[in-house]
Amino acid sequence: MAGDKKLRIALAGKPNSGKSSLFNQLTGLNQKVGNFPGVTVEKRTGTFSINGTTADVMDLPGIYSLYARTLDEKIVAEIFGNHSSEFYPDEVVLIADATNLKNSFLLLTQLIDLGLPVVLALNMVDMAVKSGQSVDIKKLSFAFDVPVVMINARKGQGINELKDVLATRVNPSSRKIFSISEEVLPSVRQIKEHFKLRSDYEAYQFLQQTNSLTHLTADEKNYVHAIAKQIGFFPGKYQGAETIRRYEFIQDLLNQVIIKASNPGWKKSSHRIDKIITHKVWGYAIFFAMLFLIFQSIFAWAQVPMDLIDNGFAALSDWLDRSLPDGPLFDLISQGIIPGIGGIIIFIPQIAVLFAFISILEETGYMARVVFLMDKIMRRFGLNGKSVVPLMSGWACAIPAIMATRTIENWKDRLITIIVTPFMSCSARLPVFAILVALTIPDKMILGFINLQGLVMMGLYLLGFLAAIFSALLMKVLIKAKERSYLIMELPTYRMPMWKNVGLAIIDKTKAFVFDAGKVILAISIVLWVLASFGPGDRMNKAEETVIQQAQNERLTEQGLADRVAAYKLENSYAGVIGKFIEPVIRPLGYDWKIGIALITSFAAREVFVGTIATIYSLGSTEDPQPIRERLASEVNPETGGPRFTMAVGFSLLIFYTFAMQCMSTIAIVKRETGGWKWPLIQLGYMTGLAYLGAFIAYQFLS
């Protein structure tokens, strides 16, 4: 093969076989993560060099068999079933877990029957040897007629040998392992002729899972369906029989190639750990301690670099503002683009820390136990054992939390988790809550030791949590699932995490966020900046004159005047116009147009609410919350003559911010994770609707 076409290699194997470790060993940093077209299954591709030429390698989702039930499995079935697919591999590396050959070989026998050129990579041979089991490689290689390479994906051993074998361009195996039953064989041959397929088994797959193969046109599917109907073909029965036949073959083979029978006692230490980890009391205690640690680290430790980034970007924006000449383009850079980029970069510490933890939990095998512990509770609410970590992470920030839902294989469970996670009160709501609670709730003690303000704060967190689980319950009924939810999964043996995998996971997730969600965040920041900086007519330009005229009789300091100008400008900007425009809509909630402006600008991020309120009430700096509170407390409602921020308005706003999806970064990440605008828009509508309703009830009830 000349260098005109790159060698395409696919990595296949069951989950926990070390596929990702091998992928990381082969590609190092030369990898990227994307989605398969049209679906949300993660596609990891990379490159490495063989004999000076580059090969593309793709890490396929971990599967046990070609028969597809989940999205992941359908992707693999489709890739191996479609020769014209851009992903169709030239060679397949099947990674087999040497401690559990039986399960690993099921897929291998299917790939051989498909006529694909396969290299068998035996991983974890050292562990198998420890358990008193060794394999006769020569016999194994002969029986399957495929090259066999022993590797240790964790330590990086055998990788060069594997590359050498791949460079020779292996041939498809000459073996046929499964013989298709006589009664369907004529039909299979007919399909093979019709579609010009390479092997009988490929045609058999067409018959077995016609609907999973998305590359077939409707006409082609009908053609296959007609044949299936003719012979009364029923996939379920045949698939079961095929699996049993394959396992019989594998068992016979293993009896020949395994030199010493395995000693089942080798898993004892793992079982001992399980006794504690899944214990009634200790299991949950360890789990909650772990959650607390994660929560603490995202909330507190990540705060240090986040503050640095925040201050750094504020200083940069300020410096540019002063050093660049005046003009809309320069303002766009210093007030729109730089803060917009800052708003993306600031999430990196939280994302990195959360994914360091999640990746360690997965690597060690603890994540599977979390699912095991929490599945029964979470399933009641339409969620999954794996929804726990994203939901709890949502208390820190919904963005890394939603990215963490990738560990949930079932699409419906994952979608529900994505939709309800933003209800968890994230750290950006905290400054908004702090100001509003301080403003409307008296600083009193109940029973002598409980602070009323603290109690309300806790209540808001609880309210968010309840909204999340009850929305999940609602979604469970509303969203129709295409796939059945299973919890048949391996509980892998405990082991030390592989730090290379942890590091690469952090880099992957951060890159995915910065480049995919970042684009949307930046775009919306610019739009919001335009809305707040430009206005209809020439009132914006005359802002300074007008304010000076109005304030003639007041003795304002230079700073006071500048603050007043900023407030006037905001009032007359497009954001101000929209604020006034939506006033009739938000009036039933107790808000005026000033609060309306804050609602619009805080769509960039909730904490912007505080800054906007400060600007609109001519307060300038937002560093110290004390003046904002005093200023807001003295704001008078012109209609009633009483204070603007009554208890009713305060509660109404608190409830609005608890429920509303006031965060464009979350919308951007949901769009990325669900692969389209459909779900983020539904979610935005649902959350805003609930926020409006809640705020309406609170205001009408209290005022």
């Binding site: 046990y64 039986k102 379920g236 079961g240 898993k267 793992s270 006794k275 919890l487 048949i488």
Partner: protein, 67 residues
């Protein structure tokens, strides 16, 4: 079955789920060990063909066994 007990698999009662169970190694005639249940009673952990697996009670109850 009680934790610690071993049984032989005889067949399946649900066609849809049986293929998945077969693929994971629940083969008729093979031994299955019930290790322990989650603290809330569901799901459970079993060992079959040298592999520790977790499955929900509803899934496990589609497997028929010879005692």
């Amino acid at each position: 079955m009680l934790p610690g007990e071993v049984a032989v698999i005889s067949g399946f009662m649900d066609d849809e789920i049986s293929t998945k169970l077969l693929e994971m190694g629940f083969l008729p005639g093979s031994f299955v060990t019930y290790n322990f249940a989650a603290p809330l009673g569901d799901p459970i952990c079993v060992t079959v063909s040298n592999l520790d697996l977790s499955l929900r009670i509803a899934e496990a109850s589609t497997i028929s066994i010879l005692e």
